[in-house]
């Protein structure tokens, strides 16, 4: 499957993943300074899912996501400066400082919003697909959610409606096996999450979410099928959250962790995996890799400077924007 993806795409995927990783590490580094006064949910270790899915989606297809969205923001092509500014609560942030880390968006590249209520954007993506369908399937709408979301009723309600109306919607379950500190097997009798929509009529499949080429290819195919009129699809990508649930650190030694899974994940860093492909199959040199990395580091540093130098909103801004003014 891997060789079907061209070098440029693979390089792009690699760069996105690295950018996510380095961004998250920068966030974690800054966090203890209290410059980011908002809970953060890092996606270190899960980069391949965001990168593969969002690259396949491109900016024209839409996405709705969760509080754990730094990676998606980056992968979908959001402006990193706006993200850091948002984390800092600055007026230049992607949500004007009002949303914070849990409410990122980048509508200019199809990232329409994210919610801190688990599963709550699944119906939104579904409804957004209804709007697309209304316009001859102009785009695919995507819901991004964790394994925790399959506990919530709206997941089933949404899938039922999506298949009933054959909507152009893609459901991406990023299964890191954990909801906060609760293992998926302690929340579900049957761990085959990708099959949970099956009896409603929504076909699903499970894939290695740490293999970015698989994620990309599978998603690309799903989008193609859907745009051709195919039914909604559920894709489950298995992965591992390296960070603690919320906050800048790690908690690999906590009891709730499956030690084997953690060590395995750390040993199979999804970024290393794709880096190896670039090095061995495409003979990308160390020099090339470090140029890429340096560019990313520069961009991140610029973004941080942008955030630091931006102004806070003024207290009066608090009162702006509850309602949109009538004439749009």
């Amino acid at each position: 499957m891997q060789t079907m993806v061209d070098l440029q795409t693979i390089s792009e995927l690699y760069k996105i993943m690295l950018k996510i990783r380095l961004t998250e590490e920068k966030v974690a580094e800054i966090y203890p300074s209290d410059k980011i006064q908002s809970p953060i949910h890092l996606s270190i270790g899960q980069e391949a899912v965001a990168a593969g899915v969002c690259m396949a989606l491109g900016p024209e297809n839409k996405i709705f996501s969760t509080y754990r969205s730094h990676g998606i923001f980056v992968a979908k092509g959001g402006d990193l400066r706006l993200m850091f500014a948002e984390l800092y609560g600055k007026e230049t942030g992607c949500a004007g400082g009002k949303g914070g880390s849990m409410h990122l968006l980048a509508p200019e590249v199809g990232f329409l919003g994210s919610s801190a209520i688990v599963a709550s954007t699944i119906p939104l993506a579904t409804g957004n697909a209804l709007a697309s369908d209304y316009q001859d399937r102009k785009w695919v709408s995507t819901a991004f959610f964790g394994d925790g979301a399959l506990g919530e009723g709206v997941f089933y309600e949404s899938l039922n409606f999506a298949i009933l109306k054959n909507l152009p919607v893609l459901y991406i379950c990023e299964n890191n096996g954990l909801a906060v500190h609760s293992r998926v097997e302690d929340r579900h009798h049957n761990s085959d999450l990708y099959r949970y929509g099956e009896r409603l009529g929504v076909t699903g499949s499970r894939h290695d979410g740490d293999d970015v080429l698989t994620v990309y290819t599978v998603t690309k195919n799903a989008i193609k099928d859907i745009l051709l009129g195919g039914p909604p699809i559920l894709l489950e990508f298995t992965t591992c959250r390296w960070s603690e649930h919320v906050g800048p650190g790690t908690d690999h030694d906590e009891m709730y962790r499956d030690q084997d899974k953690v060590s395995q994940a750390l040993a199979n860093d999804p970024i290393n995996r794709i880096q190896k492909v670039l090095q061995t199959q495409f003979e990308i040199t160390d020099g090339q890799l470090s140029t890429w990395r340096n560019n990313i580091v520069d961009e991140i540093n610029q973004a941080v400077i942008f955030a630091e130098e931006s102004s806070f909103p003024s207290p009066e801004d608090l009162y702006q924007g509850v309602f949109m003014k009538q004439d749009i």
């Binding site: 839409k62 709705f64 942030g93 992607c94 949500a95 004007g96 400082g97 009002k98 949303g99 409410h103 968006l105 509508p107 329409l112 919003g113 919610s115 209520i117 709550s120 954007t121 699944i122 119906p123 939104l124 993506a125 579904t126 409804g127 957004n128 697909a129 209804l130 709007a131 697309s132 209304y134 316009q135 709408s141 009723g153 709206v154 309600e157 949404s158 039922n160 409606f161 009933l164 702006q320 924007g321 509850v322 309602f323 949109m324 003014k325 009538q326 749009i328």
Partner: protein, 342 residues
């Protein structure tokens, strides 16, 4: 046109759909032969099943579908035959829709309308009779209207659909059969200004929805007793037209608020508190509130009658506010009471 409230709603929705191909109507039963008490009658035949469709029973997700569709360029009108079912949709409405535009720094907006009917008629019981306007008043970010007349029904629904924000419209079953003159052409009322239903000088009665009918009944009777009440109908409860209410109280010096729901933390408590804060010095008597009694709505007739506030209660309170004693005469009803079978 001389039409009833349900027909006025139908007419508004029809005209909105005719004007704007992005307006869709969805909800349980919108396309059946009962057509939500007639308020969606004929629309599926006219606009087709893509624009007018029944949904599975899934209030939470279907509300999210409306939000997502609004973000995709549609203008959904999501209809519920009972307000009570909105509890299931409150996460979507109050955690998401109410916060969306603000939380995202004014990016993204949600032009959708939720219509829901207060079930009161007879024997609807605890779960088919509620009116939850105060929830939407409490949490910022949703507009809340309660049309009283057929004219309002049309003007407010057209305005709600035109508004770029989420608007919840709470209708009243007992108002569906009231007929009145309504302009044929499309028109909108502003989402904000209150309507003065009756001018008067002795007492301000702020009443909403069906409570306006009871207040008018009381007013007619009081008039014969030479008591002249002013009736202010907020029509739009969020945002609330504080000014019209305050101006009226400045004039009358007395306020009675009558709401379709419970008193505690209800619309009536907000209006009372507002006046207490802003027009304290104008008050000649303590503010009074009337709403449903602080219990669940019972089915048994004598209990149900005791549960709901009515023209008698209004007259009684007005008397006491004016320091007069009420002899408990019979008050002629202005409406024909609801008659079954269901």
């Amino acid at each position: 046109m001389f039409i009833n409230y349900g027909q006025a709603l139908q007419n508004a929705l029809d005209q909105a759909m005719e004007q704007d191909p992005n307006v869709i109507a969805m909800g349980i039963g919108v396309d059946d032969h009962k057509a939500i008490f007639g308020s969606t009658m004929g629309l599926v035949q006219k606009y087709g099943a893509k624009r007018v469709f029944d949904t599975p029973l899934a209030e939470a997700a279907m509300t999210g579908v409306a939000i997502g569709a609004a973000l995709g360029g549609l203008k959904p009108v999501h209809i519920h035959i009972r307000v009570d079912f909105l509890y299931l949709a409150l996460d979507q409405l109050l955690n998401l829709a109410a916060k969306w535009h603000y939380m995202f720094g004014m990016q993204g907006h949600l032009p959708f309308v939720v219509r829901a009917v207060i079930g009161r008629s007879w024997g609807q019981g605890a779960q088919h009779s509620q009116s939850l306007q105060s929830f939407f008043m409490h949490v910022p970010g949703i507009k809340l209207v309660m049309p009283t007349t057929p004219y309002d029904a049309k003007g407010l629904l057209l305005a709600a659909i035109a508004d770029p924000n989420p608007v919840v419209m709470i209708e009243h079953r007992l108002l569906y059969y009231i007929e009145d003159e309504v302009p044929e052409k499309p028109f909108t009322m502003k989402l904000g200004p209150a309507v003065i239903r009756r001018h008067g000088k002795d007492v301000t009665i702020v009443a909403n929805s069906y409570m306006v009918v009871e207040a008018l009944t009381a007013a007619k009777f009081l008039e014969e007793q030479k008591i002249d009440v002013e009736i202010v109908d907020p029509v739009c409860l969020a945002p609330l037209d504080a000014e019209t209410i305050l101006t009226s109280v400045q004039k009358t010096g007395r306020l009675l608020v009558v709401d379709t729901s419970w008193v505690c933390c209800g619309a009536s408590s907000e209006i009372a508190a507002l006046v207490a804060e802003k027009a304290h010095d104008a008050l000649h008597a303590p503010i009074r509130r009337l709403g449903t009694q602080p219990v669940s709505c019972p089915v048994s007739k004598p209990l149900e009658e005791e549960f709901y506030p009515n023209a008698h209660n209004i007259v009684e309170v007005v008397y006491s506010m004016l320091g007069k004693k009420w002899e408990n005469q019979k008050i002629p009803s202005l409406t024909t009471p609801f008659k079954g079978p269901f």
